[in-house]
């Protein structure tokens, strides 16, 4: 295991002397983050800044290798594990004490035996030593987006980094390329070797995946800009727990009826405005057999849910309220949408509405009863 440098070796490292961290964020591999990092390094060097490459993943791309030429590189540290790739020599960078270090792929997981498990921790040490850092990362590695990226692309990203890394960075800059341009670059062999091009374009680098990832990257940077634009506001999103707490998640209570189509569409529109994820829940008693209209309605709801990107949940339970409360807890729903409930004779006899029962079962959850627009008075000719 690598031993940390002593404080004397690290140089002056206190809060005020912390280096400046600029993160180049991309939607996917190949958009040009590493190239941009090297370009910025060269520009800084041409202005007299002492720049070194802390770690570079050239990916055997000739343009990248050519651009790196002329910049001093701190030799990577051989991995202790046989066959593992060398890692950034954190201590070497700190000892060299440049003004600016360029470090690729901040989400990378270091080989076993390294002092830090993740490269962003290495970067943290370099920053603490008062060295400015330009680093690169792709949006799919952001921890809070892991599930969403999986849903959008079908790819579960193993190497993640905590959101606080972006929150704490001094600058987050988007390196952007349209999906078409990126696919063209891949097709031209500028990103992967020829034997990997076809598979890349047919799998992860499909246009819709790239569109989704680009949208996520744009949104992340837009949120970051907004946070920095209003620094007087409390930084409410810096804490992942608070961020989670602020995130809306909608649960739509559907039934085997056409009006649930309208309810689900309406909830989806609200979800778009709130940036909320949506689940649709259908509760029915165990063994319930639907008539043809009911079966058609449920099948149509399932198809609509797929189109809308809504998770369709089905629960068998005689006690609907209990099932709904369970789903709210499981999915961490913050907002429940339902059609106007119809009370039965038993409820009227008991003098208690189903809505009361539902509200009692969902403390702290917003409940919205959606009227059916077609029921508005004066609509009928």
């Amino acid at each position: 295991m690598q031993e940390p440098l002593s404080q004397t070796e690290r140089g002056p490292a206190d809060d005020s002397g912390r280096g400046h961290h600029r993160v180049l964020l991309g939607a996917a591999a190949g958009v040009g983050k590493t190239y941009r990092m090297l370009l910025e390094g060269k520009q800084a060097a041409s202005l007299g800044v002492d720049v070194v490459i802390g770690y570079l993943e050239p990916h055997d791309r000739p343009d990248t290798i050519a651009l790196a030429a002329g910049l001093e590189q701190v030799a990577p540290r051989p991995a202790e594990e046989a066959g593992a790739r060398p890692e950034m020599d954190v201590d070497g960078v700190i000892r060299r004490a440049p003004e600016l270090a360029l470090v690729d792929e901040l989400a990378h997981t270091n080989a076993s035996g390294s002092r830090n498990r993740k490269r962003y921790e290495d970067i943290g040490e370099v920053l603490t030593a008062g060295i400015d850092v330009i680093s690169t990362v792709n949006i799919q590695h952001l921890e809070s987006l892991n599930d969403l990226v999986f849903e959008l692309t079908g790819v579960r990203v193993r190497e993640t980094f905590p959101d606080r890394i972006l929150d704490e960075a001094d600058e987050v800059v988007l390196v952007d390329l349209t999906p078409e341009e990126l696919r063209d670059r891949i097709g031209a062999g500028k990103v992967y070797p020829p034997e990997r091009v076809e598979a890349a374009l047919a799998n992860f680098f499909r246009t819709e995946n790239l569109q989704s990832l680009r949208q996520l990257a744009l949104r992340e940077v837009a949120e970051d800009v907004e946070e920095r634009r209003a620094p007087h506001r409390p930084a409410r999103d810096t804490n992942p727990l608070i961020r989670q707490a602020l995130r809306e998640r909608i649960l739509v209570l559907v039934e085997a009826s056409p009006r649930s189509q309208r309810l689900l569409r309406r909830a989806w529109r609200s979800g778009q405005r709130l940036g909320a994820d949506i689940d649709a829940l259908w509760v029915h008693p165990p063994g319930q057999s639907l008539d043809e209209d009911g079966r058609v309605a449920v099948a149509a709801l399932r198809r609509l849910a797929v189109l809308l990107g809504v998770h369709f949940l089905e629960e068998e339970d005689r006690n609907s309220v209990q099932a709904i409360a369970r789903a709210v807890a499981d999915r961490r729903s913050t907002y429940v949408f339902l059609s106007r409930p119809e009370d039965g004779r038993l409820d009227r006899l008991l003098g208690r509405s189903r809505l009361d029962a539902l509200l009692d079962a969902l403390p702290g959850v917003d409940v919205r009863i959606c009227a059916d627009a077609v029921d508005r008075p004066g609509e009928r000719r």
Binding site: R206, S257, H284, S289, R381
Partner: protein, 152 residues
Amino acid sequence: MRWPWQAPRAATTRRVLVAFAAGELDPVVLRAAIRIARAEEATLVSAYLIVVPLDHPLESPMVDEVGEALPILEAIEREGHRSGVPVDARMERGRSLRDALTRLWTEERFDRIVLPASTGGHPGFGERDLAWALMHAPTEMLVLRPAPEAVP
């Protein structure tokens, strides 16, 4: 919301399907379809067909297309309701209009299918799609060809 102890719903009703190609709503066609459904005391199933490009997985959410479809479906529902015709709206996807139609009529029963023809400035299905539909529709089919003077 339906509660478990409620009685099962009543017997099935007649269902008339009217399909629209994405992005298009021809009021002339809609009014005609509503008249047909009302005459047959049927539910009007208005289907907005979304073609999913081949470079997208068929199951992928189609946010932009759905955003376009929603106001159209709501306008159809409102118009149907104003005319006293129950409307059950759908969005159906497929690799082509024919594929979307096939998926829809494989999943659901229709007593009559109404397809608008694309003629005289009216949006709708082209002649090849209509010829295909006439050959493959599982039930009686009606092609609506608005009069040239009808204003879309």
